[in-house]
Symmetry: C2
Subunit: 168 residues, 2 copies
């Protein structure tokens, strides 16, 4: 049996993000309908800084592809001023591809990479608002726990929830 027979049409391939992925990733960020214009602008900046490998950048940035099409993005990195803590800054999946474990595979990829870098703790900040419930469920399904809640952080009535996972 040839190994390529093991590759299904829906197989997810994860590789380093390139500058050329910018339009596809931004389309996905927009398509989720989750982010405010100011947040999308921050995503732009983070994506470009990571893709251009700016000196001193802590960001590690990867895309997920299915059938050569970019369907997701993750950006993570060592948290400045900490020993062994890493932040997952962005994780987005094309809404048309959600529920296909693309997000979980991106997250598992990041965890493996962070372990290699001797990371011991991963933190993910997200909104506590109603419409982020699926996002929070996603983190909990991936064994992240709610570590802290900062009331009204993003906006009045919109808390910051900090999820964390200890790596063993």
């Amino acid at each position: 049996m040839d190994t390529h027979m093991l590759t299904t049409p829906n197989a997810v391939h994860i590789r380093k993000a390139k500058v050329a992925d910018h339009p596809a990733v931004i389309d996905i960020v927009r398509a989720t309908g989750f982010f405010r214009p100011t947040e999308i602008e921050i995503a732009f900046e983070v994506f470009d800084e990571a893709a251009m490998n700016k000196r001193g950048s802590n960001y590690r940035s990867y895309v997920a592809e299915v059938a050569d099409q970019v369907v997701g993005w993750i950006c993570f990195g060592a948290t400045p001023g900490t020993l062994g803590t890493f932040d997952v800054y962005w994780i987005v999946v094309d809404p048309a591809r959600q529920r296909h474990r693309v997000g979980s595979q991106l997250l598992e990829f990041a965890e493996t990479d962070i372990r290699k870098q001797k990371g011991r703790l991963i933190v993910i900040e997200t909104s506590g608002s109603e419409r982020y419930l699926p996002t929070r469920n996603f983190y909990e399904q991936n064994a992240y726990h709610l570590a802290a809640d900062v009331k009204d952080f993003y906006a009045p009535g919109d808390d910051k929830w900090i999820f964390a996972k200890k790596l063993s």
Copy 2:
């Protein structure tokens, strides 16, 4: 009575930080004995970015002077991705001048500035470790409350405490 007679030798004067203040501020950061080399490096970067007024920088950076000598520094700014939340990123006071309300005056100055910018919430992240107890007492004395605690964030056994103050 001349107004200058109201100026005591210990009067604190707060003004915008300049590039030329870099050595004095870094000396103070070092003199506190509080920061690890990586943290001091971050302080350098933040100070320079703020002092050079880099395009897109959110930082607002001020020094406190007593008798024309820089004795403290505060750096704060609007927290990206939030509506009306501000972070106090750095506040340091010359150890020789502590207990003279320099820190409180810098903090009150920042609060006044943040109110003018329609800020509604101020957050300050600090360490939960033993040696930061005076720092945490300082925030509590200035009416900040502990909003959240992220276990082992900075290092094993070194939590991140997030203090917050709602502006009315």
